[in-house]
Point group: C2
Chain length 246, copies 2
């Protein structure tokens, strides 16, 4: 590791924050590439001229952000860009029912826009991939023991693929963040089964309309169809009285 990799700080505010900022800039500028190993904490503390505890706090922040990952006995590594998410939902946001519904409402808007973008930006390759997930949803009938989970997974994959086809990474990241948060709060199997039980032919039809709009390259129709699905989904969820505040 070269000597002057990091800018020497002159202790302005909070040391760990400055260190974290310096390291993340070293990553941003490409001096530290994904997969590469960071200097050891001892080395970093020497380079920055601070105690190891300070370096540890800084590294802890970056780990929290998913920018780096550390393994005891091995070292800390720069995460792959795919693994780090641009958006994080704060731990302060609790799993209250009303907030969950608002979050779904937000997702509705974002997902609809992603569909609109994807309608014009999607490649043929994207389209076949999206079609595959649609087929997966259709095929997931009541055979397996956890067909409910299969359906929901395929549905998530379907809309994630659409976001990816939009060509805007932020849509992908954002949808991913919401999805993670929602599925964390909805991790109860009972709830998932309840949601899946609502799954009728008409829901599959909602997805199919979205797909057709993407196929046709019709942005406006894709937007409407997507919004239609998520609004109905939110309504179905809201109507279920058995999903209480967690």
């Amino acid at each position: 590791m070269t000597a002057g990799l990091f800018e020497r700080i002159d202790r302005p505010r909070r040391l760990p924050d400055e260190i974290a900022r310096s390291i993340s800039e070293a990553i941003a500028s490409g001096q530290l590439k994904p997969g590469e190993r960071l200097p050891t904490e001892q080395s970093l503390s020497a380079q920055f001229g601070v105690a190891r505890t300070v370096v540890r706090e800084a590294v802890s922040l970056l780990k929290y952000d998913g920018i780096i990952d550390s393994k005891r006995g091995v070292g800390a590594f720069v995460s792959e860009p795919a693994a780090r998410s641009a958006f994080r939902i704060s731990a302060a946001c609790f799993e209250k029912r009303r907030q969950l519904i608002q979050l779904l409402e937000l997702r509705t808007g974002v997902q609809a826009e992603a569909s609109a973008l994807a309608a014009v930006a999607r490649s043929q390759r994207d389209l076949t991939r999206i079609a595959r997930y649609l087929a997966e949803m259709a095929d997931a009938t009541e055979e397996g023991p956890d067909y409910a989970a299969q359906r929901l997974d395929a549905e998530d994959a379907f809309y994630r693929a659409i976001a990816e086809s939009s060509g805007n990474t932020y849509y992908v990241e954002f949808v991913g963040m919401i999805e993670r948060n929602v599925s964390e709060n909805l991790r109860s199997v009972a709830i998932k089964n309840a949601m899946a039980s609502e799954w009728g032919r008409e829901v599959l039809e909602e997805h199919r309309v979205v797909y057709q709009a993407l196929d046709a390259g019709d942005a406006e129709r894709a937007r409407l169809a997507t919004r239609n699905h998520f609004e109905r989904a939110a309504q179905r969820l809201a109507n279920r009285a058995d999903i209480a505040d967690v």
Copy 2:
């Protein structure tokens, strides 16, 4: 401070993460109210049965999230809910020009949806507030030394007020997050002046159309008008070759 405020942990994975989680749950459940002071780090380390360094890392994470705030020589305090934001954009997202444009694209979609919601949800009170910001933009002519900043501030306030009128706190938080991030990356005065110089009568007209749609309660028109403005704004920004990669 009562004895059993926090659940005693049984050291499963990463100690600081568990501590942070435990504390944030104590806040979530209302055991620690906003403005209240946390136990001292020494006390916490005793209660959890870990070293102070571990507690410090945990507190550091929560500070990073804006959930708590600490002052040397005084203590750590639970932040007011208003001060903590639901969404955070990761430090891994750098100020590259292309990413900035993608972020604006995402904002377009979100803001358009917020307008659509606000068109039906806004109260008369909301409307007059939004009108005030519109007037502020119109009044900010070339008198003051920083009329450019005034215009941009008023514009931000205008669309923030619309998001607030939607009744969905997540839209507010999300717009706020993007706004913070964008303005951080665009903090150069030169850039702001450049953007403001593009400010013609037609831009004000774009905002006015949005307002009229909100006034009329026309969700679809509000959506279109908002999207129209942000798409044009992104285009204006993209066309400026003098805004280089930072």
